[in-house]
């Protein structure tokens, strides 16, 4: 369909050139230099100190029904065990890059995602991952699906997502968060609370197809 391609591009050029409000000089300007003139007076960088940013983040997470557990690096395995036993879960999906120190030694069964086929991948009700960065203002967790974060299907099929968040991964604004995404062409998923819908009578209901529970384990 290369004729469709050139037809569309030609039509766009021809139509833009017909607009009396757009000068030829304007259309001929390098887009990259015109782009620089786009006004950006919105707040790209936050104004709060980090403690306040964290408080805001916790508040936003709770507001959208996420659960929070506070611990430290050494307490991760216990926190995982606690979150799972409270939810009556016993089989944990473990993406390839998860450090062994995060995993409980006993009490639950581990299933490591070594390119698992669909059926065994879908079976565990719980998955454990890290994250890349979090946005306090909107209560959003971002995954680049690198090492500690698993492939996309791994955080999608289980019903309960346990996410390890280090305090220094939390920033105030969305712009600050995107600046921390370094693998911009990797698959990226942003998560704000559990799966939800408001399609029926505009009532927000937790949980349709994605995980119905999100537990943030804060270090």
């Amino acid at each position: 369909m290369s004729d469709a391609r050139s037809a569309i591009l030609d039509t766009i050029r021809r139509e833009l050139a017909r607009d009396p409000d757009l000068s030829a000089a304007h259309l001929a300007e390098a887009p990259d230099s015109a782009y620089e003139r786009i006004p950006r007076e919105y707040e790209r960088v936050g104004t709060l100190d980090h403690e306040a940013v964290l408080e805001l983040f916790y508040d936003r997470l709770r507001d959208y029904d996420s659960e929070l557990i506070f611990t430290d690096e050494a307490g991760i395995a216990d926190a995982v065990l606690k979150a799972m036993s409270e939810a009556d879960e016993s089989l944990l999906l473990v993406p390839a890059g998860i450090p062994d120190a995060w995993l409980p030694l006993a009490g639950i069964e581990l299933r490591r995602d070594t390119d698992l086929p669909l059926i065994p991948l879908e079976e565990p009700r719980t998955v454990l991952t890290g994250c890349t960065v979090c946005v306090a203002m909107s209560g959003t967790v971002m995954l680049e699906h690198g090492a500690e974060q698993g492939r996309r299907a791994a955080t999608l099929l289980p019903d309960h997502h346990l996410c390890i968040i280090r305090k220094d991964q939390v920033v105030e604004t969305l712009a600050e968060a995107f600046a921390r995404i370094t693998h911009r062409t990797a698959p990226i998923t942003t998560i704000a609370g559990p799966s939800a819908t408001s399609d029926i009578e505009m009532t927000r209901i937790r949980g349709v197809h994605g995980p119905r529970r999100l537990t943030a384990i804060i270090l």
Binding site: M1, A4, I8, L9, T11, I12, E15, L16, D19, D21, L22, P31, A34, Y35, I38, P39, R40, E41, Y42, E43, R60, Y64, D115, L118, E122, S138, G139, R151, R152, A153, L156, L174, F178, A179, I181, R184, T185, A186, P187, I188, T189, T190, I191, A192, P194, S195, A196, T197, S198, D199, I200, E201, M202, I205, R206, G207, V208, H209, G210, P211
Partner: protein
């Protein structure tokens, strides 16, 4: 070229469709309730943003800039998408896009599930696919499309049409949805709470997500700089459709391209707050071409024109393409809130539909839509990318009148003759005064309690529903003249 917006070509005009809907109390109650709820939530979430106006300004500027350099950004997007393992197709119109999709689906199905006679695809909500009538086109070819967005599924099961661009089944309440689910999901028992219905949808679709090997999506944003695509959603069905299948086909209107990755920081603040009144929607998926070991290994983009280039030659019209489909203008519109979406005869309803549909379709199919507005300006106030919808409505009305005046029927129409006569009278004061005197004498036939009722001809359209005050016994000019001569006499 066959440009198509829903089934607009066969639809009656807005006043006729609206008339039927206005008699449907249930639909009106549902629409009123839903729009009330979203409006209140949006207001709350916009209120807490000190830089909302600055974000709107940037959103408008980014879109304006992109459209002015559209060929450049489309080519950059194409290059980067291909470099990342995607394949890019171009479609001038609906038929071309559907033909490409069908060919890709057939080829993918032959590869992954050759034993299946009827290939299946899972779809995540895409208005663009509704615009080109994709489901009907696929079904004609023996391909089964499964809508996976809860509201789209409700619309599909009910053989209905979307009535809102964000919440397409907003005209149905939960009892009506329950009936549909019972009928279509083979269930014997089902609760009436929204949560029961969502749980039923989860059970019903999970098997499809695991089994169907081909996905179809739309895109909220296509990022030129990286060749990435972004899909904004809430339920997780979007993540499923862009992650689980082996082949993914993404249909993207050419106006959806944005220059850079960092521009998402503007739109992903504007869109969720405007659309559903959330600080952030539960999920966004951003992906670039294909990724080894993660998600579809075959990825196709179809870049669609279908009438969009018709809006490029005029700055006022081009602004329509700024739209990020948040639906805030629908929820704010006093007309939409009475009629709901079906009165617009197009899948794009409300104020944005009233300017988008006629321009995509050509005026001949949607010429009543630019008049389906009181020009109150509420839509412009809430638009996150500052589309001046009222100005555009007036501009389009002007185009309709201009086109009519070129035809013989238009020249001889009551409206045109009336306007001509009015223009003449306004230029000739004596004749104007004579006409006033004549009207004052003539109006006696229609006057009742100082109001004119049941006027004949074109004026009937006005007096049928509205009060029109009768002309007073004395006009201002007459009073002024009398006053002047009196003052002079006194002097």
């Amino acid at each position: 070229m066959s440009i198509r917006v829903g089934h607009t070509a066969d639809k009656a005009s807005f006043p006729i469709l609206a008339h039927t809907i206005l008699k449907d109390d249930q639909t009106r109650r549902n629409v009123r309730h839903a729009t009330d709820v979203i409006r209140a939530k949006r207001a709350l979430r916009v209120e807490e943003m000190p830089d909302w106006e600055q974000l709107r300004t940037s959103g408008h500027a980014i879109k304006t800039h992109t459209l002015e350099h559209l060929p450049y950004y489309l080519e950059v997007f194409e290059k980067n998408c291909i470099a990342a393992g995607g394949q890019v197709h171009w479609a001038r119109d609906a038929d071309e896009a559907n033909a490409i999709a069908i060919k890709l689906i057939r080829a993918a199905a032959a590869k992954v599930e050759p034993e299946k006679t009827k290939p299946e695809v899972i779809k995540v909500k895409t208005m663009t696919s509704d615009e080109i009538g994709m489901n009907a086109a696929l079904e004609r070819e023996g391909i089964i499309p499964w809508e996976t967005d809860l509201a789209d599924m409700i619309v599909q099961m009910g053989k209905d049409e979307p009535s809102h661009i964000v919440v397409p089944a907003l005209h149905k309440n939960r009892h009506q949805v329950r009936e549909l689910f019972l009928e279509n999901m083979g269930l014997t028992e089902l609760g009436t709470e929204a949560a029961d219905l969502a749980a039923a949808a989860r059970m019903y679709l999970r098997k499809k997500f695991l089994e169907v090997e081909i996905g179809v999506s739309g895109a909220n944003f296509a990022i030129a700089e990286t060749g990435s695509v972004c899909v904004v959603e809430s339920e997780g069905n979007g993540r499923m459709c862009v992650t689980m299948p082996k082949t993914l086909i993404t249909l993207i209107g050419i106006e959806k391209v944005i220059p850079k990755f960092q521009d998402l920081e503007v739109f992903l603040q504007l869109l969720p707050r405007s659309a559903t009144g959330e600080r952030m929607n539960p999920y966004n998926s951003i992906w670039t071409g294909t990724t080894a070991g993660d998600g579809p290994q075959e990825f196709h983009v179809i870049l669609l024109d279908n009438g969009r280039t018709r809006m490029l030659a005029n700055t006022r019209e081009r602004e329509t393409l700024n739209c990020i489909r948040c639906g805030a203008c629908l929820n704010a519109c006093p007309v939409y809130r009475e009629t709901g979406g079906h009165a617009y005869g197009s899948i794009y309803s409300g104020p944005i539909g009233a300017i988008l549909s006629p321009q995509l379709n050509g005026m001949e199919h949607s010429r009543s839509l630019p008049y389906a507005s009181s020009l109150c300006g509420a839509c412009y106030e809430v638009c996150p990318v500052k589309i001046n919808i009222p100005e555009t409505l007036i501009h389009l009305r002007g185009r309709i009148v201009e086109a009519d005046q070129k035809t013989l029927a238009g020249k001889l129409s009551q409206e045109n003759l009336g306007m001509k006569m009015a223009a003449h009278l306004f230029e000739h004061p004596r004749q104007y005064e004579a006409a006033q005197r004549l009207a004052r004498t003539g109006q006696g036939l229609f006057e009742k309690d100082g109001k004119l009722v049941n006027l004949p001809g074109m004026a009937a359209g006005w007096t049928q529903f509205r009060d029109l005050r009768a002309l007073p016994d004395q006009t201002f000019r007459e009073w002024w003249k009398k006053r002047k001569s009196k003052t002079e006499a006194n002097a």
